[in-house]
């Protein structure tokens, strides 16, 4: 089943996306943010939180004499001066000790002092990545579409129980949904958590608890079960850093979601998404972008071109951060009104279009949510048609829809039924996609062309206006965001000529190859 698509239009769209993000690159290069610095500090070994629960990373970065020089410089100076490791220094700072002014220490000295910790950080990330590769080789995870389910009880221990049960029921990927709007916190909570609304807090300890449980069940089942969380909101780089060292396998990580759907400042997001993706590139983590969010508030048929345009932009940003296509899980969702005649044909067109345009990407396909109702029987059927679309169009990451989507975060039984649903449909229609062809010039092909042309038109408008301007105008998801408005703007700062970030350097796309 192949769509005949206008390659010229596809190339044009890619060029436009490049033209859209490149101007932002300069800005990104000149700026850093508090969460970029906290990520650096965390990678250098600062993990815990103070008695008051405030993470040491936040304490340290807030205490920087001059953040424009970067946290690495200050830490390097402190190490050079005291000989103490970063963790100890952070505790001291939390206890009230001031940090030395880096400019007092010779550059060579402070860099030499920090170097071993930076190397250790990179070594740790590399080790975790090799560990994953070895596990995947020994415990193959099975064929795509990879069945992905969410756990969201709010209590990490219940989540662990649910995750293990889901894995036994056939889940290949488990995502821990975050507590309501953790995106808006300008720090990463600390420790194991048992309270959360609509989800469970993303904390390093919670990551560890889930990873250990999934590693155990992976061994038992003889197949590696992946773990997903969110590097999204105000702490993208830090979560990417934590995920790298706790061997998460995927992260929701979008270049514009925070701006559009969480009113996070756009400059903050641009800088944060870039550094977080550099880390992901190195740790081998697959990102999942959030195009599904465009469809939850607006009509899915109308928004299809916007989704495709966003996929091009996300791809462009990701490539420039050093992520290879096989780590770019572009998102899409099955959200067309189930009452629409031939709606299924539209879904097929859109899914197949993305599949052919982003041939190398592990596409992330999201289930019906908006049109799910309390009628769980009807909902189960809509999920079945979603499952059918996914197997016919070879989506890679398949987020299983829940028949109780409109009712509650998934019950353990709901997940089992969802996995049964996917397994049944994807088995009985396994090769349907290979065995049929789309009528040339038919409804499906015409719809695909319409979506692609629409995306090109959007990208042209954005390229012309410039990305920031376009967002200010409300080009995406009908929301207008001001360049200096939104949450977290105060955490963005211009780098001093002497700003130093050894990890950023080491992770730079060029270096990344090494």
């Amino acid at each position: 089943m192949e769509l005949r698509i206008d390659r010229g239009a596809v190339d044009r769209a890619r060029r436009l996306a490049g033209a859209i993000v490149d101007p932002v690159a300069g800005f990104i290069a000149r700026h850093s943010t508090v969460s970029v610095e906290r990520a650096v500090v965390r990678l250098l070994g600062v993990e815990g939180a103070g008695a008051d629960g405030v993470p040491l990373a936040n304490r340290l970065v807030d205490a920087l004499p001059d953040r424009a020089l970067g946290a690495a410089a200050a830490l390097g100076a402190a190490i050079a001066e005291t000989g103490r490791p970063p963790a100890t220094i952070a505790e001291a700072v939390a206890a009230g000790e001031p940090l030395p002014d880096p400019s007092a220490t010779p550059l060579t000295a402070l860099r030499a002092a920090l170097r071993p910790y930076a190397d250790a950080a990179l070594a740790r990330i590399g080790a975790r990545r090799r560990e994953r590769d070895a596990l995947l080789a020994r415990l193959p995870q099975g064929e795509p579409p990879l069945l992905y389910v969410i756990v969201a009880s709010g209590n990490i221990y219940e989540d662990r129980t649910a995750a293990v049960a889901a894995a036994e029921a056939g889940a290949q990927i488990v995502a821990v949904i975050r507590s309501t709007a953790q995106s808006l916190l300008d720090y990463v909570p600390h420790g194991a958590t048992t309270e959360g609304f609509g989800g469970t807090y993303a904390t390093q300890e919670n990551f560890r608890i889930m990873r250990a449980a999934l590693d155990e069940v992976s061994e038992r089942l003889g197949r590696y079960v992946m773990l997903t969380n969110y590097a999204s909101g105000l702490c993208m780089p830090e979560i990417a850093a934590m995920a790298a060292v706790e061997r998460l396998d995927m992260l929701l990580n979008d270049s514009m979601y925070g701006i559009l759907f969480r009113d996070i400042n756009m400059q903050r997001t641009f800088v944060d998404q870039h550094f977080s993706r550099r880390i992901n590139a190195r740790s081998g983590i697959v990102i999942n972008t959030g195009e599904d969010n465009y469809l939850t508030t607006a009509d899915a048929v109308e928004q299809a071109p916007a989704v495709l345009a966003s996929q091009f932009v996300n791809e462009a940003f990701a490539l420039r951060a050093g992520l290879p296509p096989e780590q770019i899980g572009l998102g899409d969702a099955f959200e067309i009104d189930p009452r629409l005649e031939d709606g299924f044909l539209f879904q097929l067109a859109q899914a197949q279009l993305a599949r052919q345009i982003f041939a190398g990407a592990p596409l992330k396909y999201m289930p019906p949510t908006k049109h799910m109702t309390g009628d769980i029987f009807k909902g189960h059927l809509i999920d079945a048609m979603f499952n059918l679309t996914s197997v016919m169009t070879h989506q890679t990451i398949h987020l299983c829809g829940m028949l109780t989507e409109a009712i509650h975060t998934p019950f353990v039984g709901d997940r089992a039924l969802a996995l049964d649903n996917a397994r049944y449909v994807m088995t009985t229609a396994r090769n349907l996609g290979e065995e049929i062809e789309l009528k040339p010039g038919g409804k499906i092909e015409r719809r695909a062309r319409e979506v692609l042309d629409g995306a090109v038109r959007i990208l042209e408008r954005v390229a012309e206006r410039g990305l920031t301007g376009a967002i200010e105008d409300g080009t995406f998801a009908d929301v207008k965001r001001a360049r200096e408005g939104g949450r977290g703007y105060e955490g963005v700062f211009e780098k001093h000529p002497a700003y130093w970030n050894p990890l950023d350097e080491a992770l730079a796309p060029a270096a990344a190859g090494a």
Binding site: E168, T296, T373
Partner: protein, 244 residues
């Protein structure tokens, strides 16, 4: 009317379908346990038609059974907030005639809830399922504060603007967060002796007019509400107040 029971294929056969999960490994005994459990729930003629392991320590069951429970529907009182809906023209005219000015309506998704689609469906020009939203009415001046609005901010705003009606939405209901937030809003208004000044309206997928009353609201609207219903309710009540 006489009490009725659930209907399978014969009047008052009491047929009910259940499904649930037990945190135990599956076995013949687990099936039997499910059967006995349904018995303890008060069901008779229990048939465990499906019982299987969904994980090493969880078993899922589908059960059909009969309930002795019955209910007289005619004795159940759950008046919808609005019987027959007025047209936009009728609403505007009613307000113009009886109130003589546009009514100030302040809406928000309160607490940490960011599900604005529902409240937007009621307020935005566009409306819902072909029924225009309150912004479309001449009779309403609409302030849609959007998502994640602390009740303090909502009340302050409403009082500053001298709102005639406050429309609060809650879509996330996990762990009773909706009831908690709705209650907080009502109590804050009471505390500030501002409750009488406004029509207080609650909405969300789990809301019913009955529940709203229990929470001290003037009305509640749930699944599939159309803007016109809300507009009609506000206009009628405002008209009554004006003439009172």
């Amino acid at each position: 009317m006489t009490p009725v029971k659930p209907y399978g294929d014969t009047l008052n056969d009491g047929a009910v379908q259940l499904s649930f999960t037990l945190p135990v490994a599956w076995s013949e005994a687990a099936d039997e346990a499910a059967r006995q459990l349904a018995g303890k729930m008060g069901f008779t003629d229990v048939a465990v038609v499906e019982g299987r392991a969904i994980a090493s320590n969880f078993s899922f069951f589908v059960v059909y059974a009969r309930t002795p429970a019955s209910i007289d529907v005619s004795a159940v009182h759950a008046p919808a907030a609005v019987r027959e809906t007025l047209s936009i023209e009728q609403v505007d005219e009613l307000i113009a005639k009886r109130v003589g000015r546009a009514l100030k309506v302040v809406g928000a998704c309160i607490g940490t809830d960011a599900h604005t689609v529902g409240i937007d469906a009621i307020l935005n020009m566009k409306g819902y399922r072909g029924d225009y939203g309150l912004e479309r009415y001449r009779g309403f001046e609409v302030f849609n504060l959007g998502s994640q609005i602390a009740v303090e901010d909502l009340v302050r705003f409403a009082r500053e603007r001298g709102a005639d009606a406050i429309l609060a939405s809650q879509v996330v209901t996990q762990k009773g967060s909706d009831v908690a937030n709705f209650t907080a809003l009502a109590e804050l208004l009471e505390a500030e002796n501002a409750r009488e000044d406004v029509l207080l309206i609650a909405g969300g997928p789990r809301m019913t007019n009955l529940l709203a009353a229990e929470l001290g609201y003037d009305a509640g609207f749930g699944r599939g509400t159309l803007p016109g219903e809300v507009a009609t309710f506000i206009a009628r009540r405002a008209a009554e107040r004006a003439s009172a």
